[in-house]
């Protein structure tokens, strides 16, 4: 039996980890993800899990210990945010290239410069090309659900890639919401046991991980990584379907909100989708054909699905909660436009950079964005990208 509870996003993810009962967690505290390993250590102290909890001296060590444990043949997890995430950057590539299905809880927070503890996506977007899968969560329920699906996706023999389960710092991680938890037996049965084919602590079948990749092999090995990512989309859909059949909560690579006849649309990631949906509902009552596309999977990037969702739209706003400082907008803007061009979509596009360092994005901001989209659809010239929510003279 599932049960209703009121939990923060961090509590929800920690409860998913309790139900998963991983063999090893190595983590280092950093706001706003600190609570996740903190709750897990409490579960351990209370005897609710038998996880080996490794208190390391840095995030570089946290991800390294996690990788070592996973290569040894067990389920290993970690959690981080912001600067801690950035300190893992080097090792994230190693975990992916070693094809270790590590699961990491990411609580998105701005990267320092200037120092800031609040939410944007500059941390995980900064490592978007490291070879990990990335699922983003709109709210605590999705963070919990994504975490329970993570191992089955990552450990699929067709995938064998690490995965980040991301949620927005404070907005989701610390806000308390009503959510549905599956009972422990159901959750454990869904997650299943980890049975790797190759692992280090296997005396009968020795293997070596992380060999030097000389030039005649490096590119072939990278090609295998991208093939695994090619398989990941279908596996995410398969696991999400099984989870939906079990719980009634269905997910896909993207969510199409009131998109069937939409003429104007926003594309966004994370908690802003909830705000955007509220704006769409009000605009629909006013007769404006507004819709919203929420990106759940950013890696693998669902370019075909996004282009399909936007194929009949007149104007679309692509919303980045980070700036690429490219002079050309943010990463979501670049990749969505690439997908639209590839599929010869006719929609006009504008890329917004918003919500940096915890800057609030309100329903009123979405009204403003949809008004701009109406003007663009009517033929008004607009810049390719711009900031919204920033004070201007």
């Amino acid at each position: 039996m599932s049960r209703r509870d009121r939990l923060s996003g961090n509590e929800a993810v920690a409860n998913a980890i309790r139900q998963i009962n991983p063999d090893v967690i190595a983590a280092f505290p950093i706001t706003p993800s600190t609570e996740i390993p903190q709750y897990v250590s409490l579960f351990k102290a209370e005897g609710k899990i038998d996880t080996e909890f490794v208190t390391v001296e840095s995030e570089h060590s946290a991800i390294s210990a996690t990788a070592g444990a996973e290569a040894a043949g067990v389920r290993a997890m970690t959690a981080t945010s912001s600067a801690g995430f950035a300190l893992m950057h080097e090792m994230l590539y190693v975990v992916a290239s070693d094809r270790l299905p590590v699961v990491m809880a990411v609580v998105n927070r701005a990267l320092t410069g200037p120092i800031n503890i609040n939410n944007d996506h500059s941390d995980s977007m900064g490592s978007r090309d490291c070879g990990w899968m990335q699922l983003y969560s709109e709210n605590a329920q999705e963070a919990y659900d994504n975490m329970l699906m993570a191992h089955r996706i990552a450990e699929d023999p067709e995938v064998l890639l690490p995965i980040m389960i991301c949620q927005d710092g404070f907005i989701t991680s610390h806000a308390v919401e009503n959510i549905v938890l599956e009972d422990d037996e159901t959750a454990k049965a869904f997650v299943g046991e980890y049975k790797p084919e190759h692992f280090l602590l296997n005396p009968g079948k020795p293997v070596a991980y992380g060999p030097y990749g000389v030039s005649p092999y490096y590119m072939e090995l990278k090609r295998t990584q991208t093939e695994a990512m090619n398989h990941a989309a279908a596996v995410i859909q398969k696991v999400s379907k099984a989870y939906g059949d079990l719980t009634g909560r269905y997910y896909d690579l993207i969510e199409r909100y009131r998109m069937d006849d939409a003429e104007l649309a926003c594309v966004c990631i994370g908690s802003s989708a909830g705000t955007g949906k509220a704006a769409v509902d009000v605009l629909r009552e006013q007769g404006i054909k507004a819709g919203l596309v929420k990106i759940r999977a950013f890696r693998p990037f669902p370019g075909d699905e996004i282009a399909d969702a936007l194929k009949h739209v007149e104007a679309v706003a692509i919303m980045d909660k980070t700036d690429s400082f490219s002079g050309n907008g943010g990463p979501l803007g670049a990749e969505v436009r690439s997908a639209l061009y590839q599929h010869k979509c006719k929609a006009e596009t504008i890329n917004y950079v918003y919500g940096l360092g915890g800057r609030d994005v309100r329903v009123e901001d979405f009204y403003q964005i949809f008004r701009q989209l109406e003007d663009i659809a009517d033929g008004e010239e607009a810049p390719a990208w711009r900031y919204i929510g920033v004070r201007e003279r």
């Binding site: 290239s97 293997v207 060999p211 092999y217 072939e220 090995l221």
Partner: protein, 103 residues
């Protein structure tokens, strides 16, 4: 000799033949990697001058001086990288070292 579980993979293999993550299957298989082709300068063994004092084989970083029944044999040129330490420790001039010694 153990079976080489990686022998189906070479520098000509397509990416589809790679192991997941490039892991190396099987243990004790560094012998299968012929590091000897890194060598630009070579030692040469002169058996007539050798007194079998065995100072040379423990200093070899690549275990490329085989010892059988208490006596050293000629170099394992498949794995000798040509560092020259053996020639430096030999008290009897039984190991010469240079480009002209290529085996």
């Amino acid at each position: 000799m153990k079976e080489n579980l990686m022998k189906h993979i070479s520098e000509k293999s397509p990416w589809q033949d790679m192991t997941p993550g490039g892991i190396v299957l099987g243990g004790g298989n560094s012998v299968d990697v012929r590091t000897g082709d890194w060598r630009t300068v070579s030692p040469k063994f002169h058996a007539d001058k050798c007194r079998q004092c065995l100072l040379c084989f423990p200093v070899c970083p690549d275990s490329s001086i085989p010892v059988v029944d208490g006596k050293r044999l000629d170099f394992d040129y498949d794995h000798c990288k040509g560092c020259g330490i053996c020639a430096a420790v030999c008290p009897f001039g039984a190991i010469t070292f240079g480009e002209e010694e290529q085996a």
